[in-house]
């Protein structure tokens, strides 16, 4: 089923703040096996010029993808979520995510396409801190595979 083109440019209301915890960052760093002290040792992070431990570059995806849920599960859009795989992912950082941040995400539909039987959805998530300053933007391309397609992986 072709997706509704009128959704391009639609923005969703900002999410409730997500408070970034030191121990959640530690848990994530351990899960990816990354021993960089900037993720776990506040003094090491301060030596790099950060106010507290920072999160690995891809940590924020958990927050932006949850926010994108309000887009992909919008019944009016009509995306078949059971066939969705992750196509592309990109981040652009103004600064790293830091313990103590209270982050909100504003999701916008950038593009809606149907190519080779696949429905393709591009969602941009703008992440801001409590002061309203930009932290990072995440672009996520989701592909709802047609019955014959074999691209992407989840």
């Amino acid at each position: 089923m072709a997706l509704d083109q009128s959704f391009v440019g639609r923005s969703y209301p900002p999410t409730e703040p997500y408070e970034v915890g030191r121990e959640k960052i530690r848990e994530f760093a351990e899960a990816v096996g990354d021993t960089n002290p900037a993720y776990t040792d506040p003094e090491a992070a301060k030596a790099f010029g950060h106010p507290d431990v920072i999160a690995p570059p891809t940590f924020v995806f958990s927050i932006t993808f949850k926010a994108a849920g309000q887009v992909v599960q919008d019944p009016q859009l009509g995306l078949d979520y059971s066939r969705v795989v992750h196509g592309d992912q990109k981040f652009a950082y103004t600064r790293p995510v830091c313990a103590g941040d209270r982050l909100t995400v504003t999701s916008t539909i950038e593009a809606v396409k149907t190519m080779a039987g696949n429905d393709i959805l591009d969602v941009r998530g703008e992440v801001h801190d409590e002061a309203g300053e930009h932290v990072v933007t995440a672009w996520t391309k989701l592909v709802a595979r047609g019955l014959d397609a074999e691209e992407g992986q989840a």
Partner: protein, 142 residues
């Protein structure tokens, strides 16, 4: 941001130290918990095969997280990464044994940009196949 690599010390073609990252079923369970992504294709072999996959596969975001370590280990301060993007082209298949799979990552400076930034292109493979495409980071150097 205080990268330990100076812009003047790198050229187009400068190679970053390559690394291999092991991934087992236990790794995927741990990553599922840490990331909140509990899609069963990453831990349930029966489910993965029912949806047409050869076996359990790693989270794409796990592979993305491993690949950038080649850059953040090079710069010291992870905040040196100002942009990072990938395309998920092939799955990392993780068998249910003691060895699991290996994600092999190499990278090199592909372009020198303004303001002491460089573009690093990453080559990310598993079992002889490229698993990420268009895998690039823009990195702020000293």
């Amino acid at each position: 941001m205080t990268a330990k690599i100076a812009y003047g010390d790198v050229e187009v073609g400068t190679e970053l130290p390559a690394q291999n990252f092991p991934v087992t079923r236990a790794t995927l369970v741990q990553y599922a918990g840490a990331s909140g992504d509990f899609n069963p294709i990453h831990w349930n072999e029966k489910f993965a095969k029912e949806v047409g996959l050869p076996d359990v596969i790693a989270h794409g975001m796990f592979t993305m997280a491993e690949a950038i370590r080649v850059v953040t280990d090079w710069t010291g301060d992870p905040a040196a990464v100002v942009e990072y993007g990938v395309r998920f082209t092939k799955p990392v298949v993780v068998p249910n044994d003691d060895e699991g799979a290996t994600i092999e990552v190499s990278g090199k400076v592909a372009a020198k940009l303004d303001d002491n930034k460089v573009r690093v292109d990453l080559l990310v493979k598993s079992a002889g196949q490229k698993v990420l495409g268009m895998s690039r980071a823009v990195v702020q150097l000293a």
